[in-house]
Amino acid sequence: MIIIITEDTNLGAKSREDGRAFDELRPLKIEAGVLERADGSAYLEFGGNKILVAVYGPKESHIRRFQRPDRAYIRCRYNMAPFSVDDRKRPGPDRRSMEISKVTAEALQPSILLEKYPRALIDIFIEVLEAEGGTRCAGITAASVALADAGIPMKDMVVACASGKVNDQIVLDLSEVEDKEGQADLPVAIMPRSGEITLLQSDGSLNAGEFEKAVDLAVEGCQAISKVQQDALKKRYGE
Protein backbone atom coordinates (compact mmCIF):
# COMPACT_ATOMS: atom_id res chain seq x y z
CA MET A 1 0.00 0.00 0.00
CA ILE A 2 1.17 3.50 -0.73
CA ILE A 3 0.88 5.80 2.23
CA ILE A 4 1.16 9.43 1.34
CA ILE A 5 1.63 11.95 4.10
CA THR A 6 0.32 15.41 3.28
CA GLU A 7 1.22 18.27 5.55
CA ASP A 8 -1.69 20.42 6.68
CA THR A 9 0.45 23.51 6.48
CA ASN A 10 0.68 23.35 2.68
CA LEU A 11 -1.56 26.14 1.47
CA GLY A 12 -2.49 28.10 -1.65
CA ALA A 13 -0.62 27.50 -4.85
CA LYS A 14 1.52 24.81 -3.27
CA SER A 15 -1.25 22.65 -1.91
CA ARG A 16 -0.75 19.63 -4.22
CA GLU A 17 0.47 16.33 -2.92
CA ASP A 18 3.73 16.57 -4.82
CA GLY A 19 4.14 20.24 -4.01
CA ARG A 20 3.37 21.55 -7.48
CA ALA A 21 1.49 24.80 -8.09
CA PHE A 22 -2.03 24.35 -9.51
CA ASP A 23 -0.76 25.26 -12.97
CA GLU A 24 2.58 23.49 -12.80
CA LEU A 25 3.51 20.64 -15.11
CA ARG A 26 5.56 17.67 -14.02
CA PRO A 27 9.14 17.51 -15.36
CA LEU A 28 9.06 16.72 -19.08
CA LYS A 29 11.68 15.41 -21.46
CA ILE A 30 11.20 14.47 -25.13
CA GLU A 31 13.69 12.91 -27.50
CA ALA A 32 13.10 12.35 -31.21
CA GLY A 33 14.56 9.60 -33.37
CA VAL A 34 15.32 6.96 -30.77
CA LEU A 35 14.63 3.77 -32.72
CA GLU A 36 16.51 2.22 -35.64
CA ARG A 37 13.82 0.38 -37.56
CA ALA A 38 10.84 2.71 -37.25
CA ASP A 39 10.37 5.44 -39.84
CA GLY A 40 9.96 7.91 -36.99
CA SER A 41 10.11 7.64 -33.21
CA ALA A 42 10.09 9.58 -29.99
CA TYR A 43 10.73 8.89 -26.32
CA LEU A 44 9.04 10.93 -23.62
CA GLU A 45 9.35 11.11 -19.86
CA PHE A 46 6.70 13.10 -18.05
CA GLY A 47 6.68 12.82 -14.28
CA GLY A 48 6.84 9.07 -13.75
CA ASN A 49 5.53 8.28 -17.25
CA LYS A 50 7.84 6.69 -19.78
CA ILE A 51 6.43 6.51 -23.29
CA LEU A 52 7.93 5.29 -26.53
CA VAL A 53 6.26 5.89 -29.90
CA ALA A 54 7.11 4.50 -33.31
CA VAL A 55 5.61 5.53 -36.63
CA TYR A 56 5.67 3.51 -39.85
CA GLY A 57 4.42 4.80 -43.17
CA PRO A 58 2.85 6.05 -45.24
CA LYS A 59 2.98 2.53 -46.68
CA GLU A 60 0.93 0.24 -48.84
CA SER A 61 -1.58 -1.96 -47.02
CA HIS A 62 -3.04 -5.21 -48.26
CA ILE A 63 -5.85 -5.09 -45.73
CA ARG A 64 -9.08 -3.63 -47.09
CA ARG A 65 -10.16 -2.38 -43.69
CA PHE A 66 -7.11 -0.10 -43.59
CA GLN A 67 -7.65 1.52 -46.98
CA ARG A 68 -9.48 4.73 -47.84
CA PRO A 69 -9.88 5.73 -51.50
CA ASP A 70 -9.17 9.42 -50.96
CA ARG A 71 -6.70 9.55 -48.10
CA ALA A 72 -4.30 7.69 -45.86
CA TYR A 73 -5.67 5.60 -43.01
CA ILE A 74 -4.27 5.98 -39.49
CA ARG A 75 -3.97 2.86 -37.39
CA CYS A 76 -3.13 3.64 -33.82
CA ARG A 77 -2.25 1.14 -31.11
CA TYR A 78 -1.86 2.27 -27.51
CA ASN A 79 -0.35 -0.52 -25.45
CA MET A 80 0.84 -0.86 -21.86
CA ALA A 81 3.84 -3.00 -21.02
CA PRO A 82 3.05 -5.70 -18.46
CA PHE A 83 5.55 -4.14 -16.03
CA SER A 84 4.35 -0.54 -16.52
CA VAL A 85 1.83 -0.59 -13.69
CA ASP A 86 1.74 -1.72 -10.07
CA ASP A 87 0.03 -5.06 -10.71
CA ARG A 88 1.33 -6.87 -13.77
CA LYS A 89 -0.95 -6.18 -16.75
CA ARG A 90 -1.82 -9.13 -18.96
CA PRO A 91 -0.40 -8.57 -22.46
CA GLY A 92 -2.79 -7.73 -25.27
CA PRO A 93 -5.50 -5.15 -25.89
CA ASP A 94 -8.27 -4.54 -23.36
CA ARG A 95 -11.30 -2.27 -23.50
CA ARG A 96 -9.47 0.70 -22.05
CA SER A 97 -6.60 0.50 -24.54
CA MET A 98 -9.07 0.06 -27.41
CA GLU A 99 -10.85 3.27 -26.48
CA ILE A 100 -7.60 5.19 -26.02
CA SER A 101 -6.31 3.94 -29.38
CA LYS A 102 -9.48 5.28 -31.01
CA VAL A 103 -9.47 8.74 -29.43
CA THR A 104 -5.72 9.06 -29.97
CA ALA A 105 -6.09 8.41 -33.69
CA GLU A 106 -8.90 10.99 -33.81
CA ALA A 107 -6.82 13.51 -31.85
CA LEU A 108 -3.88 13.26 -34.24
CA GLN A 109 -5.76 12.94 -37.51
CA PRO A 110 -6.74 16.64 -37.99
CA SER A 111 -3.08 17.67 -38.13
CA ILE A 112 -1.96 15.16 -40.77
CA LEU A 113 -2.26 15.86 -44.50
CA LEU A 114 -3.84 12.49 -45.15
CA GLU A 115 -5.16 13.37 -48.57
CA LYS A 116 -1.59 13.37 -49.87
CA TYR A 117 -1.47 9.57 -49.60
CA PRO A 118 -4.68 7.96 -50.83
CA ARG A 119 -4.96 4.22 -49.94
CA ALA A 120 -1.85 4.36 -47.76
CA LEU A 121 -1.54 3.24 -44.14
CA ILE A 122 0.19 5.15 -41.36
CA ASP A 123 0.93 3.07 -38.25
CA ILE A 124 1.33 4.74 -34.87
CA PHE A 125 2.49 2.44 -32.08
CA ILE A 126 2.44 3.90 -28.57
CA GLU A 127 4.13 1.86 -25.85
CA VAL A 128 3.62 2.84 -22.25
CA LEU A 129 6.77 1.55 -20.55
CA GLU A 130 5.85 3.07 -17.22
CA ALA A 131 2.59 4.74 -16.24
CA GLU A 132 2.03 7.39 -13.62
CA GLY A 133 -1.14 9.23 -14.64
CA GLY A 134 -1.82 10.99 -17.92
CA THR A 135 -0.47 8.34 -20.31
CA ARG A 136 -2.99 9.05 -23.08
CA CYS A 137 -1.96 12.73 -23.26
CA ALA A 138 1.71 11.84 -23.03
CA GLY A 139 1.22 9.30 -25.83
CA ILE A 140 -0.40 11.89 -28.12
CA THR A 141 2.33 14.43 -27.42
CA ALA A 142 5.05 11.90 -28.16
CA ALA A 143 3.22 10.56 -31.23
CA SER A 144 3.24 14.00 -32.87
CA VAL A 145 7.01 14.19 -32.48
CA ALA A 146 7.37 10.68 -33.92
CA LEU A 147 5.15 11.64 -36.88
CA ALA A 148 7.32 14.68 -37.53
CA ASP A 149 10.43 12.51 -37.17
CA ALA A 150 8.97 10.18 -39.80
CA GLY A 151 8.64 13.12 -42.16
CA ILE A 152 4.86 12.86 -42.38
CA PRO A 153 3.52 16.20 -43.64
CA MET A 154 1.43 17.96 -40.97
CA LYS A 155 -0.40 21.26 -40.65
CA ASP A 156 0.53 21.52 -36.99
CA MET A 157 1.89 19.35 -34.18
CA VAL A 158 -0.89 18.13 -31.90
CA VAL A 159 -0.10 18.35 -28.21
CA ALA A 160 -2.06 17.07 -25.23
CA CYS A 161 -2.33 17.70 -21.53
CA ALA A 162 -4.91 16.97 -18.85
CA SER A 163 -6.38 19.19 -16.22
CA GLY A 164 -8.80 18.20 -13.50
CA LYS A 165 -10.33 18.86 -10.13
CA VAL A 166 -8.56 17.77 -6.97
CA ASN A 167 -9.50 18.84 -3.47
CA ASP A 168 -12.09 21.21 -4.98
CA GLN A 169 -9.38 22.99 -6.97
CA ILE A 170 -8.87 23.04 -10.73
CA VAL A 171 -5.30 21.90 -11.35
CA LEU A 172 -3.08 21.10 -14.31
CA ASP A 173 -1.59 17.74 -15.23
CA LEU A 174 -2.89 15.25 -12.68
CA SER A 175 -0.45 12.72 -11.25
CA GLU A 176 -1.50 9.11 -10.74
CA VAL A 177 -2.54 9.76 -7.13
CA GLU A 178 -4.48 12.87 -8.08
CA ASP A 179 -6.18 11.00 -10.90
CA LYS A 180 -7.30 8.23 -8.55
CA GLU A 181 -8.36 10.39 -5.64
CA GLY A 182 -9.43 13.49 -7.51
CA GLN A 183 -12.92 14.61 -8.50
CA ALA A 184 -12.45 15.01 -12.24
CA ASP A 185 -9.95 14.36 -15.00
CA LEU A 186 -10.09 16.19 -18.33
CA PRO A 187 -7.64 15.19 -21.07
CA VAL A 188 -7.34 17.76 -23.85
CA ALA A 189 -5.39 17.84 -27.10
CA ILE A 190 -5.06 20.90 -29.30
CA MET A 191 -3.49 22.10 -32.51
CA PRO A 192 -1.38 24.83 -30.94
CA ARG A 193 -1.40 27.25 -33.85
CA SER A 194 -5.20 27.56 -34.03
CA GLY A 195 -5.91 26.55 -30.46
CA GLU A 196 -8.58 24.17 -31.77
CA ILE A 197 -9.39 21.13 -29.68
CA THR A 198 -8.82 17.66 -31.21
CA LEU A 199 -9.27 15.55 -28.07
CA LEU A 200 -11.62 16.20 -25.22
CA GLN A 201 -12.81 13.77 -22.62
CA SER A 202 -14.09 14.24 -19.13
CA ASP A 203 -14.42 11.84 -16.29
CA GLY A 204 -15.75 13.08 -12.96
CA SER A 205 -17.91 15.96 -11.86
CA LEU A 206 -17.50 19.58 -12.96
CA ASN A 207 -19.98 22.41 -13.16
CA ALA A 208 -19.94 24.59 -16.27
CA GLY A 209 -17.70 27.20 -14.68
CA GLU A 210 -15.18 24.66 -13.43
CA PHE A 211 -15.29 22.92 -16.78
CA GLU A 212 -14.43 26.09 -18.67
CA LYS A 213 -11.62 26.89 -16.26
CA ALA A 214 -10.27 23.35 -16.65
CA VAL A 215 -10.34 23.54 -20.45
CA ASP A 216 -8.48 26.86 -20.35
CA LEU A 217 -5.88 25.51 -17.98
CA ALA A 218 -5.32 22.37 -20.07
CA VAL A 219 -4.92 24.46 -23.21
CA GLU A 220 -2.27 26.57 -21.44
CA GLY A 221 -0.49 23.38 -20.43
CA CYS A 222 -0.62 22.18 -24.04
CA GLN A 223 0.97 25.41 -25.25
CA ALA A 224 3.83 24.99 -22.78
CA ILE A 225 4.39 21.38 -23.80
CA SER A 226 4.32 22.35 -27.45
CA LYS A 227 7.61 24.20 -26.97
CA VAL A 228 9.25 21.07 -25.58
CA GLN A 229 8.07 19.16 -28.66
CA GLN A 230 9.65 21.75 -30.92
CA ASP A 231 12.87 21.73 -28.95
CA ALA A 232 13.09 17.99 -29.31
CA LEU A 233 12.84 18.27 -33.09
CA LYS A 234 15.28 21.17 -33.21
CA LYS A 235 17.72 19.17 -31.14
CA ARG A 236 17.53 16.37 -33.67
CA TYR A 237 17.29 18.29 -36.91
CA GLY A 238 18.70 21.71 -36.05
CA GLU A 239 16.76 24.93 -36.34
Partner: protein
Protein backbone atom coordinates in the same frame (compact mmCIF):
# COMPACT_ATOMS: atom_id res chain seq x y z
CA UNK B 1 -17.32 1.84 -43.99
CA UNK B 2 -20.02 3.69 -45.85
CA UNK B 3 -19.00 6.09 -48.58
CA UNK B 4 -21.51 8.93 -48.78
CA UNK B 5 -21.89 10.46 -52.26
CA UNK B 6 -20.42 13.95 -52.43
CA UNK B 7 -23.74 15.37 -53.58
CA UNK B 8 -25.58 14.08 -50.52
CA UNK B 9 -22.88 15.39 -48.26
CA UNK B 10 -23.09 18.81 -49.86
CA UNK B 11 -26.87 19.08 -49.82
CA UNK B 12 -27.14 18.18 -46.12
CA UNK B 13 -24.28 20.50 -45.24
CA UNK B 14 -25.87 23.38 -47.15
CA UNK B 15 -29.17 22.81 -45.39
CA UNK B 16 -27.54 22.84 -41.98
CA UNK B 17 -25.46 25.89 -42.80
CA UNK B 18 -28.85 27.53 -43.43
CA UNK B 19 -29.96 26.30 -39.98
CA UNK B 20 -32.27 23.66 -41.44
CA UNK B 21 -32.10 19.84 -41.26
CA UNK B 22 -33.03 17.03 -43.65
CA UNK B 23 -35.92 15.98 -41.39
CA UNK B 24 -37.02 19.57 -40.73
CA UNK B 25 -35.96 19.60 -37.09
CA UNK B 26 -34.48 22.60 -35.34
CA UNK B 27 -30.72 22.29 -34.80
CA UNK B 28 -31.23 21.65 -31.10
CA UNK B 29 -34.26 19.39 -31.39
CA UNK B 30 -34.45 15.67 -30.61
CA UNK B 31 -36.23 13.25 -32.87
CA UNK B 32 -39.22 11.38 -31.43
CA UNK B 33 -38.24 9.48 -28.30
CA UNK B 34 -40.03 6.52 -26.79
CA UNK B 35 -39.11 4.65 -23.65
CA UNK B 36 -40.71 1.62 -22.02
CA UNK B 37 -39.39 -0.16 -18.95
CA UNK B 38 -39.88 -3.68 -17.62
CA UNK B 39 -39.95 -5.14 -21.11
CA UNK B 40 -37.88 -8.25 -20.27
CA UNK B 41 -39.26 -10.27 -17.39
CA UNK B 42 -36.10 -12.33 -16.86
CA UNK B 43 -33.93 -9.25 -16.57
CA UNK B 44 -33.84 -7.58 -13.16
CA UNK B 45 -34.35 -4.27 -14.86
CA UNK B 46 -34.96 -3.47 -18.49
CA UNK B 47 -35.86 -0.75 -20.92
CA UNK B 48 -36.53 -0.40 -24.61
CA UNK B 49 -35.56 3.01 -25.92
CA UNK B 50 -36.08 4.50 -29.35
CA UNK B 51 -34.66 7.80 -30.57
CA UNK B 52 -35.87 8.21 -34.11
CA UNK B 53 -35.50 4.68 -35.46
CA UNK B 54 -32.44 3.87 -33.35
CA UNK B 55 -33.53 1.16 -30.97
CA UNK B 56 -31.80 -0.36 -27.96
CA UNK B 57 -32.91 -2.86 -25.37
CA UNK B 58 -31.08 -2.57 -22.10
CA UNK B 59 -31.18 -5.31 -19.50
CA UNK B 60 -29.63 -5.46 -16.06
CA UNK B 61 -28.62 -8.46 -13.98
CA UNK B 62 -27.16 -8.58 -10.49
CA UNK B 63 -24.65 -11.07 -9.21
CA UNK B 64 -22.64 -11.36 -6.01
CA UNK B 65 -18.92 -10.99 -6.57
CA UNK B 66 -15.65 -9.67 -5.21
CA UNK B 67 -14.97 -5.92 -5.13
CA UNK B 68 -11.93 -4.45 -6.86
CA UNK B 69 -8.94 -4.55 -4.48
CA UNK B 70 -8.54 -0.76 -4.45
CA UNK B 71 -12.23 -0.10 -3.72
CA UNK B 72 -13.11 -2.86 -1.22
CA UNK B 73 -16.31 -1.28 0.09
CA UNK B 74 -18.23 -0.44 -3.08
CA UNK B 75 -20.30 -2.45 -5.51
CA UNK B 76 -19.42 -2.83 -9.16
CA UNK B 77 -21.19 -1.72 -12.34
CA UNK B 78 -20.20 -3.42 -15.59
CA UNK B 79 -21.50 -2.03 -18.86
CA UNK B 80 -21.32 -4.08 -22.00
CA UNK B 81 -22.51 -3.23 -25.47
CA UNK B 82 -23.25 -5.31 -28.52
CA UNK B 83 -23.61 -3.58 -31.86
CA UNK B 84 -25.62 -6.50 -33.19
CA UNK B 85 -25.13 -7.32 -36.87
CA UNK B 86 -28.91 -7.01 -37.06
CA UNK B 87 -28.71 -3.28 -36.40
CA UNK B 88 -26.98 -2.16 -39.58
CA UNK B 89 -25.75 -3.71 -42.83
CA UNK B 90 -22.15 -2.72 -42.05
CA UNK B 91 -22.02 -4.35 -38.60
CA UNK B 92 -20.46 -7.81 -38.63
CA UNK B 93 -20.71 -10.61 -36.05
CA UNK B 94 -17.69 -10.82 -33.77
CA UNK B 95 -16.18 -9.48 -30.56
CA UNK B 96 -16.89 -5.80 -29.76
CA UNK B 97 -14.95 -3.39 -31.97
CA UNK B 98 -13.68 -0.01 -30.79
CA UNK B 99 -16.95 1.72 -31.67
CA UNK B 100 -18.86 -0.69 -29.46
CA UNK B 101 -16.29 -0.45 -26.67
CA UNK B 102 -16.43 3.36 -26.74
CA UNK B 103 -20.23 3.29 -26.50
CA UNK B 104 -20.13 1.00 -23.47
CA UNK B 105 -17.34 2.86 -21.74
CA UNK B 106 -18.85 6.33 -22.20
CA UNK B 107 -22.23 5.06 -20.97
CA UNK B 108 -20.47 3.47 -18.03
CA UNK B 109 -18.58 6.66 -17.17
CA UNK B 110 -21.73 8.77 -17.33
CA UNK B 111 -23.45 6.45 -14.85
CA UNK B 112 -20.46 5.86 -12.61
CA UNK B 113 -19.19 9.44 -12.38
CA UNK B 114 -22.62 10.90 -11.78
CA UNK B 115 -22.64 8.63 -8.72
CA UNK B 116 -26.22 7.91 -9.60
CA UNK B 117 -26.11 4.48 -7.94
CA UNK B 118 -24.93 4.60 -4.34
CA UNK B 119 -22.36 1.86 -4.76
CA UNK B 120 -21.42 1.79 -1.09
CA UNK B 121 -24.88 0.44 -0.33
CA UNK B 122 -24.14 -2.45 -2.69
CA UNK B 123 -21.34 -3.72 -0.46
CA UNK B 124 -22.27 -6.70 1.69
CA UNK B 125 -18.96 -7.71 3.24
CA UNK B 126 -16.13 -5.24 2.86
CA UNK B 127 -13.38 -6.59 0.65
CA UNK B 128 -15.29 -9.85 0.12
CA UNK B 129 -18.80 -9.62 -1.27
CA UNK B 130 -20.45 -6.86 -3.20
CA UNK B 131 -23.25 -6.69 -5.73
CA UNK B 132 -22.13 -6.53 -9.32
CA UNK B 133 -24.67 -4.94 -11.63
CA UNK B 134 -24.33 -5.88 -15.27
CA UNK B 135 -25.82 -3.45 -17.76
CA UNK B 136 -26.14 -4.98 -21.23
CA UNK B 137 -26.82 -2.66 -24.15
CA UNK B 138 -28.36 -4.66 -26.98
CA UNK B 139 -28.36 -2.45 -30.09
CA UNK B 140 -31.17 -3.59 -32.37
CA UNK B 141 -31.48 -0.83 -34.95
CA UNK B 142 -28.92 1.82 -35.77
CA UNK B 143 -30.29 5.11 -37.02
CA UNK B 144 -27.73 7.48 -35.47
CA UNK B 145 -26.99 8.84 -31.98
CA UNK B 146 -26.61 5.59 -30.07
CA UNK B 147 -24.85 7.38 -27.19
CA UNK B 148 -27.89 9.31 -25.93
CA UNK B 149 -30.14 6.30 -26.44
CA UNK B 150 -27.73 4.03 -24.58
CA UNK B 151 -27.50 6.32 -21.56
CA UNK B 152 -31.24 6.98 -21.51
CA UNK B 153 -31.98 3.26 -21.74
CA UNK B 154 -29.36 2.32 -19.16
CA UNK B 155 -30.61 4.88 -16.63
CA UNK B 156 -34.21 3.79 -17.19
CA UNK B 157 -33.22 0.15 -16.75
CA UNK B 158 -31.39 0.95 -13.51
CA UNK B 159 -34.46 2.80 -12.21
CA UNK B 160 -36.48 -0.28 -13.14
CA UNK B 161 -34.08 -2.74 -11.50
CA UNK B 162 -35.10 -4.81 -8.51
CA UNK B 163 -32.44 -6.95 -6.86
CA UNK B 164 -33.03 -9.54 -4.18
CA UNK B 165 -32.63 -8.42 -0.59
CA UNK B 166 -29.38 -9.74 0.81
CA UNK B 167 -28.67 -9.89 4.52
CA UNK B 168 -26.02 -11.38 6.74
CA UNK B 169 -27.34 -14.07 9.07
CA UNK B 170 -24.67 -15.68 11.27
CA UNK B 171 -21.83 -15.01 8.85
CA UNK B 172 -23.84 -16.42 5.95
CA UNK B 173 -25.28 -14.33 3.17
CA UNK B 174 -28.98 -14.95 2.73
CA UNK B 175 -30.41 -13.85 -0.58
CA UNK B 176 -34.13 -13.40 -0.51
CA UNK B 177 -35.61 -13.59 -3.99
CA UNK B 178 -39.07 -13.05 -2.59
CA UNK B 179 -38.18 -9.59 -1.43
CA UNK B 180 -36.74 -7.50 -4.18
CA UNK B 181 -35.60 -3.96 -3.70
CA UNK B 182 -34.86 -1.09 -6.03
CA UNK B 183 -31.26 0.07 -6.42
CA UNK B 184 -30.14 2.94 -4.19
CA UNK B 185 -30.51 5.76 -6.73
CA UNK B 186 -29.37 9.32 -6.15
CA UNK B 187 -29.16 12.19 -8.62
CA UNK B 188 -29.65 10.99 -12.20
CA UNK B 189 -27.61 11.90 -15.26
CA UNK B 190 -28.29 11.74 -19.01
CA UNK B 191 -26.35 12.49 -22.16
CA UNK B 192 -26.71 14.87 -25.12
CA UNK B 193 -24.78 14.33 -28.33
CA UNK B 194 -23.97 16.96 -30.95
CA UNK B 195 -22.57 16.61 -34.44
CA UNK B 196 -20.57 19.27 -36.17
CA UNK B 197 -21.66 19.56 -39.78
CA UNK B 198 -20.61 22.48 -41.92
CA UNK B 199 -20.44 25.47 -39.60
CA UNK B 200 -23.04 24.25 -37.13
CA UNK B 201 -23.45 21.91 -34.20
CA UNK B 202 -26.68 19.89 -34.38
CA UNK B 203 -28.23 17.95 -31.51
CA UNK B 204 -29.18 14.28 -31.83
CA UNK B 205 -27.66 13.52 -35.26
CA UNK B 206 -29.67 11.16 -37.43
CA UNK B 207 -27.91 8.41 -39.37
CA UNK B 208 -27.68 10.58 -42.49
CA UNK B 209 -26.11 13.33 -40.43
CA UNK B 210 -23.79 11.01 -38.54
CA UNK B 211 -22.39 9.66 -41.79
CA UNK B 212 -21.15 13.11 -42.79
CA UNK B 213 -20.30 14.67 -39.43
CA UNK B 214 -16.82 16.08 -39.00
CA UNK B 215 -16.83 16.00 -35.19
CA UNK B 216 -19.03 14.60 -32.46
CA UNK B 217 -19.46 15.79 -28.89
CA UNK B 218 -21.29 13.83 -26.20
CA UNK B 219 -21.94 15.48 -22.88
CA UNK B 220 -23.25 13.66 -19.82
CA UNK B 221 -24.91 15.91 -17.26
CA UNK B 222 -26.57 15.42 -13.89
CA UNK B 223 -29.92 16.87 -12.86
CA UNK B 224 -28.11 19.66 -11.03
CA UNK B 225 -26.10 20.57 -14.12
CA UNK B 226 -22.74 18.95 -13.41
CA UNK B 227 -20.82 17.54 -16.35
CA UNK B 228 -20.10 13.93 -15.37
CA UNK B 229 -18.82 12.59 -18.68
CA UNK B 230 -17.77 14.09 -21.96
CA UNK B 231 -16.38 12.54 -25.10
CA UNK B 232 -15.30 14.18 -28.32
CA UNK B 233 -15.17 12.03 -31.43
CA UNK B 234 -14.49 12.50 -35.10
CA UNK B 235 -11.56 13.69 -37.10
CA UNK B 236 -12.12 17.46 -37.04
CA UNK B 237 -11.29 19.84 -34.18
CA UNK B 238 -13.80 21.92 -32.22
CA UNK B 239 -13.35 25.40 -30.83
CA UNK B 240 -13.83 26.15 -27.17
CA UNK B 241 -16.83 28.32 -28.09
CA UNK B 242 -18.52 25.43 -29.86
CA UNK B 243 -17.95 23.24 -26.84
CA UNK B 244 -19.20 25.78 -24.29
CA UNK B 245 -22.27 26.41 -26.41
CA UNK B 246 -23.02 22.70 -26.48
CA UNK B 247 -22.68 22.58 -22.70
CA UNK B 248 -25.26 25.35 -22.46
CA UNK B 249 -27.75 23.54 -24.69
CA UNK B 250 -27.15 20.34 -22.74
CA UNK B 251 -28.20 22.03 -19.49
CA UNK B 252 -31.58 22.69 -21.00
CA UNK B 253 -32.00 19.47 -22.98
CA UNK B 254 -31.07 17.05 -20.18
CA UNK B 255 -34.04 18.47 -18.28
CA UNK B 256 -36.28 17.67 -21.25
CA UNK B 257 -34.86 14.16 -21.51
CA UNK B 258 -35.33 13.52 -17.78
CA UNK B 259 -39.07 13.71 -18.32
CA UNK B 260 -39.01 10.46 -20.30
CA UNK B 261 -37.66 8.56 -17.29
CA UNK B 262 -40.15 6.51 -15.31
Amino acid sequence: MNVVPEITRKSITDLINNLERPDSRALDEYREISLETGVISKAEGSARVKIGSSQIIVGTKSQLGSPFPDTPNVGVIMTNSELLPMAAPEFEPGPPDEKSVELARVTDRCIRESQMVDLEKLCLVEGKKVWMIFIDLHILDYDGNLMDAAVLGAVAALLNTRIPKATMVDDEIVIDYENKEPLPIREKALMCTFAKIGEQMVLDPSLAEEEILSARLSIGMTESGNICALQKGGATPLTKEEIMNAVKITEEKTKELMEYLP
